[in-house]
Symmetry: C2
Subunit: 265 residues, 2 copies
Amino acid sequence: MTGPGGLPVTPRALRQEIRKRKLARPTCGLAPGYVQANLVVLPQERAFDFLLFCQRNPKPCPLLEVVEGGSTEPRELAPGADLRTDIPRYRVYRDGALADEPEDVVRYWRDDLVSFLIGCSFTFERALLEAGVPVRHVEQGRNVPMFVTSIPTKAAGAFAGPMVVTMRPIPREKVVTAVQVTSRFPAVHGAPVHIGEPEAIGIADLARPDMGDPVTINEGEVPVFWACGVTPQAVAIRTRPPLMITHSPGHMLVTDRRDAEYAVF
Amino acid sequence: MTGPGGLPVTPRALRQEIRKRKLARPTCGLAPGYVQANLVVLPQERAFDFLLFCQRNPKPCPLLEVVEGGSTEPRELAPGADLRTDIPRYRVYRDGALADEPEDVVRYWRDDLVSFLIGCSFTFERALLEAGVPVRHVEQGRNVPMFVTSIPTKAAGAFAGPMVVTMRPIPREKVVTAVQVTSRFPAVHGAPVHIGEPEAIGIADLARPDMGDPVTINEGEVPVFWACGVTPQAVAIRTRPPLMITHSPGHMLVTDRRDAEYAVF
């Protein structure tokens, strides 16, 4: 079964195309209504501290599933999937430095690697759009603007560092709705961490994001900030692990779970 | 400042009395409005798997805080508290067998011990009462009845086993309210895991709980089942850790956090 553009519409079929290396593109917009996930893979010796870091920082690091060493199958999110091949593009870091950006990581895999799958804001953006709240970077076809803030995360072992946030300009009369809608999705970053004053959280210039693209802020719009899944990656890189594997930005794991399964109330 | 019966009313003052061994009693009813927590302490070598077990089973194991090896202070829940002395009574297990039930665990403590503080149903019971939903074991001055079910938990390493639940008989016209009220408290077991049919979850006889006391079920009342914090203790004991420390049943850590801080919406 295929959808617009001849793309498969079920997550399983999509992952099979990705595994065959026939779909090396960002996953934004694919399999609408299904949860997509960030990936962070670390050696077992770092896994307790990283798991604890996620437990302490659920807004930037909403854990959806942890796959233990020896396994590559995310049985909760995507039974039958293989974390080494079913993401369109990966990043491989050695001692904290980017070493490769391959289409699969079979040759890098080791039995002591633990995989962390972390919620992604695609889910709550769809909910915002359905509630009539505009999502500017989607309208403008850009990457979401991301900023390193002065908000500290709660450390765990060597894992520590500032929270990274995304910014979406929201019409002032829709700010409350935006809070309400995203509060329903704690598994994908949840409610905003800040509303309105970038300088209060250490952001000097909204026109110059640290990552991603700037977006237009119209008259009458308020910048609203959500915790970003780049935070755990940034924090993990700072610890210079001997080996770390992540998805490449925008190239997520498409799971079999529906967005609605992660909504509260 | 003291309340009825001359008992201190602030959590900090209560913990100081407990630390001086002047308050060796169950904590039910003490410092109303403040969160109380279950304690599970395990050696570092078991900590990753146990943390992962909690992450996979948030209903029976709602983690409020993890205190790493080398520290005895739960800085989030109760700054200044000492986990070795500030609980009225402890249990010490050696290789899975109860070895001691002391009033403090200073002499058992080691720097490699990791402490897990887990939510307790006192918080949601207060919310039920405030919403006009009766809590039978409180009315009858008994322990809540607990049952080992046929519902499996999701394993992590050696940690595995059946879910333990508590049962509260709820008037049928208040079952929906009971679901709504407890859904607001995911950090303290949250919504029920089952409504109405004990045999469907492997419970043969409501009059014979596996732990705690039986309670009266009146005509027109429905048995409602919630995941129980005894689950992680039971699961941990099955792995026969060389050393494991817990609170003694009913003798919880009284924290500085308000119940309302853990409510969603």
